[in-house]
């Protein structure tokens, strides 16, 4: 038991069996999290370093708690993004952290490929907590876990992902993971944010949200970065919401049993209306809880690879 690689840099490198194994392991940890004593001694004596070049309280906290529930020591190491520009060597920083005896390095970085780079250059297990616009594998895994938990299966479901696919590492990881697990994927958004070339990944592309949502089992909304308005990606957040905001009326196009997901933090009134976000079909808070179990599973399984 365990994964094939010492690192989790992306879903691209996993196969369906790996994903299945992570989800199964996460299910076990979710049971643990439901108990009175939520901590297990599985990784006692190990050290986890959260190396965050981008502020993200949510993801960092989730990893921190996951590591602590497994009884590892946790060090949070925040680096300002300006040091990237200053040319402070990523490799030097990483080697320093390794020299401190880190077993796990959880890294978030604004540049794509940084998790690959660290994984190739360090002995420690590297977990990608989001690199640039490349991947955010644990988010996709927790999304799949949530889907499986609610729907029982993933294969054969129709999943609509709506928003800024081009710049979304969450979307990328989800596309790879869902395809590997046999789901159908539709991408919905303006052509400026949903490049046509993605068709080559065997997904459907829609700019018309009503059409794209028709019969969907899952509606996965992405956070729209407000800074992209005025850069030509879309004119205003008002127009964006008019075309691609998830409202109860639009949601009615999807299956009656459709679930609404969002990786957070949400921009209410920009990509999702409050009615939907707080509605019966929203599983957004389940996603947060499941994130903890999935991240525990990832650390636990990577530790198995290292022996």
């Amino acid at each position: 038991m365990g994964l094939k690689s010492k690192d989790l840099v992306g879903i691209k490198a996993l196969d369906a069996a790996d994903i299945e194994q992570i989800l199964d392991t996460a299910a076990g940890f979710k049971d643990v999290l439901g108990r009175d004593i939520k901590k297990v001694p599985a990784l006692r004596g190990k050290t986890t370093v959260n190396l965050f070049y981008e502020p993200s309280t949510r993801t960092r906290t989730s990893f921190e708690l996951a590591a602590k529930r497994l009884s590892t020591d946790v060090i949070n190491f925040s680096v300002s993004t300006s040091s990237v520009v200053k040319g402070e060597s990523l490799r030097d920083t990483a080697l320093t952290i390794q020299a401190l005896g880190a077993d796990f390095i959880v890294v978030r970085h604004p540049c794509s490929g940084v998790a690959h780079f660290l994984a190739n250059n360090l002995d420690a297990s590297v977990v990608n907590a989001g690199d640039g616009t490349n991947e955010h594998p644990t988010q996709a895994l927790l999304d799949l876990f949530t889907i499986r938990e609610k729907k029982g299966v993933i294969r054969g479901l129709e999943v609509a992902i709506v928003g800024d696919i081009l710049h979304s590492r969450v979307a990328k990881s989800n596309i790879y993971a869902l395809k590997k697990m046999g789901a159908g994927v539709r991408l919905i958004g303006p052509p400026t944010l949903v490049p046509d070339v993605l068709k080559d990944l065997d997904v459907e592309i829609y700019s018309d949200m009503e059409k794209g949502l028709k019969g969907a089992d899952i509606v996965m909304m992405l956070r729209i970065q407000v800074e992209r308005q005025g850069k030509g990606f879309f004119p205003t957040t008002v127009e964006y919401f008019r075309n691609w905001g998830l409202t109860p009326e639009r949601l009615a196009r999807a299956k009656e049993s459709a679930l609404v997901m969002h990786p957070g933090p949400m921009n209410r009134g920009v990509e999702i209306s409050s009615d939907v976000a707080d509605g019966m079909r929203s599983v957004i808070l389940d996603q947060v809880t499941n994130g903890l179990a999935v991240r525990m599973a990832v650390l636990y399984l990577l530790a198995g690879v290292k022996g």
């Binding site: 970085h109 540049c111 940084v114 616009t133 990944l201």
Partner: protein, 433 residues
């Protein structure tokens, strides 16, 4: 002193020579190419009359190569390359004349920098260095640099390479003004707004790697603009590092129309590898313009074959090892190309894209003609710039062994067959195993 290179396969398109000959040099000049059979087999030796004989049986003997596009980095970026190391690398690659781009620090936008480069090259250079001056002061695209004073000081062409001249009116004026000197403007064709922030070819791979893409059109709209301006002004336009199918088509049609005085170059990496070389974020494959797609590579080869592309230049862009380590987005663009250029280009002969003669045209004769230097030929009286190439043994590219300070190449470990084994330049014979 007399040097005779015997029994080599001499290729010199300037005289229509392509066969086994003896090449005779005296006092630093080519004396003659003797086509009759001569003996002199076996090892080279000095005979009584002070003649150095070199046996080149089974090897190619070519005019020393001429590289129109080299970044020597000196002055200002000596940690990346110097005139000494860059010219040594050139010699290792069979290149005996090179043109160096002005994007140094300070920029070569005035004659004192030109003079500095030439002086340094005269004292430390292993090959001839022909500086290229900046089109605009500081390469800022705002004011013309003193082209004619720099030309007098030794600049053979002008370019803001590293950047385009974004302002179309400024480019128009530069082309018009350059007519007094009859020298080419070498254009780095890039629409900076279209390419902004991009680090590789735009496409499925860039999207799935999460790297910002540069569409081929970022190059092509500027190629189209510059051709239009060349037609308008009558200036001489040389398009640097052509990398896309669309650019080849634009240049082909411009040449057919015959209204613009336009020539073009490409680089070995644009006909040898594709965007796939970026692989898992290998910054050694980060270059500007970026490595393109398979269809672009095929179009570049076709353009070389049919004469649309006149020149193979290296765009040698050495960087320090540390600069290429780490974040792909942050790494500078460029490939250290001097020492792999001939080996990679010879593959075009193996593939039937070019003949030996065609290859020498692209790598020696035509570049000389474009910048108006008397090189790239083995005609009697020409400088004794010669390279002897062994194509019989496969060897592995080892970037660690480069004489260039820049070890940044995506070709490390590649198996190539054409290897310069002897280069004659500035009266010195450089020989390797």
């Amino acid at each position: 002193m007399k040097i005779v290179i015997k029994n080599g396969h001499v290729v010199d398109p300037s005289q229509g020579i392509d066969g086994v000959c003896d090449l005779v040099m005296e006092d630093g000049k080519i004396k003659e190419v003797k086509s009759e059979k001569s003996k002199g087999k076996g090892q080279r030796h000095e005979n009584n009359r002070g003649t150095k004989e070199i046996d080149a049986s089974g090897k190619l003997v070519l005019p020393g190569l001429v590289d129109l596009h080299v970044h020597l980095r000196e002055p200002g970026y000596e940690y990346k390359e110097t005139i000494r190391t860059g010219t040594a690398a050139a010699i290792r690659g069979g290149i005996t004349s090179l043109c160096c781009m002005p994007n140094t620090n300070p920029v070569n936008d005035n004659s004192s920098v030109t003079e500095f480069i030439l002086k340094k090259a005269a004292s430390e250079g292993a090959c001839r260095v022909f500086p290229i001056g900046a089109i605009t002061k500081g390469q800022k695209g705002e004011e013309l640099a003193e082209m004619s004073i720099m030309h007098e000081a030794g600049c053979v062409a002008f370019s803001d390479d590293g950047r385009p001249v974004t302002d179309s009116l400024m480019m128009r004026r530069a082309m018009e003004y350059s007519r007094i000197l009859k020298v080419p403007l070498i254009s780095h064709c890039e629409d900076l707004a279209l390419s902004a922030g991009g680090v590789m070819q735009e496409g499925l791979l860039s999207v799935t790697l999460g790297l910002k893409g540069i569409p081929p059109q970022a190059e092509e709209v500027m190629v189209a603009r510059d051709i239009a301006l060349a037609e308008l002004t009558g200036g001489r336009l040389h398009i640097a590092h052509v990398s896309t199918e669309g650019s080849v088509a634009l240049i082909r049609s411009a040449k057919k129309r015959g209204m613009a005085d336009v020539t073009a170059e490409t680089c070995p990496h644009y006909f040898s590898i594709t965007e796939e070389a970026v692989g898992s974020y290998d910054a050694n494959a980060k270059v500007n313009p970026p490595l393109r797609s398979r269809k672009d590579v095929e179009a570049i080869k076709q353009g070389l074959h049919d004469g649309t592309i006149d020149v193979i230049a290296t765009d040698h862009a050495p960087h320090h090892r540390d600069e290429k380590l780490g974040e792909f987005d942050v790494a500078p663009s460029g490939i250290s190309g001097l020492e792999t250029s001939l080996g990679l280009s010879m593959r075009l002969v193996d593939e039937g894209v070019l003949t030996y003669s065609g290859l020498v045209e692209k790598m020696a004769l035509k570049p000389s003609g474009i910048v108006g230097i008397d090189r790239g030929t083995l005609r009697p009286g020409a400088e004794a710039d010669v390279v002897v190439v062994d194509c019989s043994r496969e060897y592995r590219v080892d970037a660690g062994e480069f004489l260039s300070k820049g070890k940044n190449t995506p070709f490390d470990g590649w198996a190539l067959s054409a290897k310069p084994v002897l280069t004659i330049s500035l009266g010195r014979i450089h020989e390797w195993e």
